[in-house]
């Protein structure tokens, strides 16, 4: 993770970028060199310039945008439903010891199951459209959020609860002003992982059977052994994931202003 805190001057951020860009250049350069000299067979490893050509053509013709749009939609829906469900069930089980005792083995079993095997079932249940991918993403996101919320609620400071009760909070107000804010703060702390998982769910779902989406493009290209398009799809997905992560970081920063961060002094 390159979580280097760039100071307002940007000078502290410079050295890492200065080092990182040559690494990328060397990687692509050696890819080019090795395939051009046929040390690595082009058929299996593709050719960087053709890969970039495919990407260029996708964006120039606008062909890629509907696919990206579908993948984004699936990711967002999977994230929203998954976190909503995880938050609700996490709150419920954390606040009700009996329910939690009964549900415990099932939650553990469901979490231990490799969720990818559900993809064919979801395809049968929800068809090859958006919803089967959303369902797969939800099963991935749900557990991350659920465990975070459950743990978070269990660890709410007893003094905060006592204080709210002394100030006259009833059960609903306690939920709204103490449990929910501390639970959502745990949802946000798992935001990067859960958005990433929603994305994985969308792409894997598409890859296993779909008619649209970036995963579908990769699947298609693979079917005709068009390795350059497969690589192009992978690169687009990677770039897309990075953008998504940045957006999440911005949202997180805005929503968690109350969180202490280390060393908040301003540079002169």
């Amino acid at each position: 993770m390159s979580k280097v805190r760039t100071s307002s001057g940007g000078i502290a951020g410079m050295p890492s970028a200065v080092l990182q860009i040559p690494i990328l250049a060397v990687l692509i350069g050696s890819w080019y060199g090795l395939t051009e000299t046929n040390v690595l067979p082009k058929f299996f490893f593709g050719e960087p310039f053709k890969v970039f050509g495919v990407i260029w053509a996708w964006f120039l013709s606008g062909e890629i945008f509907p696919h990206l749009g579908v993948t984004l939609l699936e990711t967002v829906l999977a994230f929203l439903f998954g976190s909503g469900l995880g938050l609700a069930v996490g709150l419920w089980l954390a606040l009700s010891p009996t329910a939690s005792r009964l549900a415990d083995p099932y939650i553990k079993a469901a979490n231990a199951m490799p969720r990818v095997v559900l993809a064919p079932i979801f395809a049968v249940w929800f068809g090859l459209g958006v919803w089967s991918k959303v369902a797969l993403g939800v099963t991935l996101v749900f557990f991350i959020v659920f465990f975070n919320v459950y743990q978070g609620i269990r660890e709410v400071s007893p003094v905060l609860l006592a204080n709210a009760r002394v100030l006259g909070a009833n059960a609903a107000q306690l939920l709204r002003t103490v449990y929910l804010p501390s639970a959502t703060s745990w949802v946000f702390s798992s935001l990067h992982t859960s958005v990433g998982m929603a994305f994985v769910g969308a792409v894997v779902g598409e890859y296993l059977g779909s008619s649209r989406g970036v995963g579908y493009l990769i699947l298609q290209a693979e079917g005709v052994f068009d390795i350059n398009t497969v690589f192009a799809g992978m690169l687009v997905l990677t770039a897309f994931a990075l953008v998504l992560d940045q957006v999440v970081a911005i949202v997180e920063k805005r929503l968690l202003v109350w969180r202490p961060t280390h060393g908040e002094t301003e540079k002169m």
Binding site: S157, V159, L160, A162, N163, A164, R165, V166, L167, G168, A169, N170, Q173, T177, V178, P181, S182, S185, V257, W258, R259, P260
Partner: protein, 285 residues
């Protein structure tokens, strides 16, 4: 010496001429059963403590003796193992709705700004936002945080957080105020300012205060009565002293009067032994 060994329970006589006490802990025992530990621990044993309406009572005692436990019982947060709690003559069931409680530990919500923390009790009562904010701002000013309402707890110093907590408690205008070492995190100057402010608020409409402190000088300077607790386990009051220093008081000046010094010596004499006992006990635990 003007002290009474173990407050004699002057019960049965139906509260002769005195009005009903604001808070009446009668023969309260609190036994904690810690999971895992073999034996249970009786923190408070047969403690009787009465706060008259409008009285300012301080409780001092060695660390770990059960002071916070007594306050939790008074607030209705903790059910005593035996004994009864009465609030203005009525037996306490559930939360004590007449009491405000300022906790020893941090109690501000980290996700709310100082102002939002101060008004949270009003919010629970359904007071309209604009009015709540106006009152909250007013209280922030009174505790010297007028310009800091937008700050989150992690952006405030320990002392600022304590003052915000004080405003949060007092804005509810409780008839009984329970305070657990509220000023121990403050520097001596701010502390005396806050003590004077508290005395002002208290004398304005004579609330009943149960004030817990480590600091005997603070206890004497503020109170009408100082209660000394024995060391745990089985803590109970072992002495009480009426503080008949004239009011209004200025906490920084009153410490210098000979009367104050004399009271201090007298109470310290009772306390000293318990503090040593408490220290030894806390080491052996």
């Amino acid at each position: 010496m003007a002290m009474t060994q173990t407050i004699s329970p002057a019960r049965s006589a139906p509260a002769a001429e005195a009005a009903v006490p604001a808070l009446d802990l009668d023969n309260v025992t609190c036994t904690f059963r810690t999971p895992g530990a073999k034996a249970s621990y009786t923190a408070v044993k047969e403690a009787t403590l009465r706060i008259a309406d409008g009285e300012f009572v301080s409780v001092v005692g060695p660390t770990g003796c059960g002071k916070s436990t007594l306050l939790n019982v008074s607030a209705g947060l903790l059910q005593p193992s035996s004994g009864t709690v009465r609030v203005y003559g009525e037996e306490l069931v559930g939360m004590n709705r007449k009491a405000g409680y300022m906790f020893q530990a941090e109690s501000l919500m980290p996700w709310r700004s100082a102002l939002d923390n101060v008004v949270v009790g009003l919010e629970y009562q359904g007071v309209p936002r604009a009015e709540a904010e106006a009152r909250g701002q007013d209280w922030l000013k009174r505790v010297g945080l007028g310009a800091h309402g937008h700050r989150y707890p992690h952006q405030m110093s320990g002392g600022m957080r304590k003052r915000a907590a004080l405003a949060q408690t007092l804005i509810m205008n409780p008839r009984i105020i329970l305070m657990d070492e509220p000023f121990s995190a403050l520097d001596i100057q701010t502390r005396q300012l806050m003590e004077n402010e508290l005395l002002d608020i208290w004398s304005a409409d004579r609330k009943s205060v149960l004030f817990i402190t480590h600091d005997l000088e603070e206890a004497i300077a503020l109170s009408d009565r100082v209660v000394v607790l024995s060391a745990g386990p089985g803590t109970h009051p072992i002495g009480e002293f009426v503080i008949d220093l004239p009011r209004p008081r200025d906490v920084s000046e009153i410490r210098l009067t000979p009367q104050f010094v004399q009271l201090h010596d007298q109470i310290w004499h009772t306390m000293k032994e318990e503090v040593l006992k408490g220290y030894v006990q806390s080491q052996n635990k």
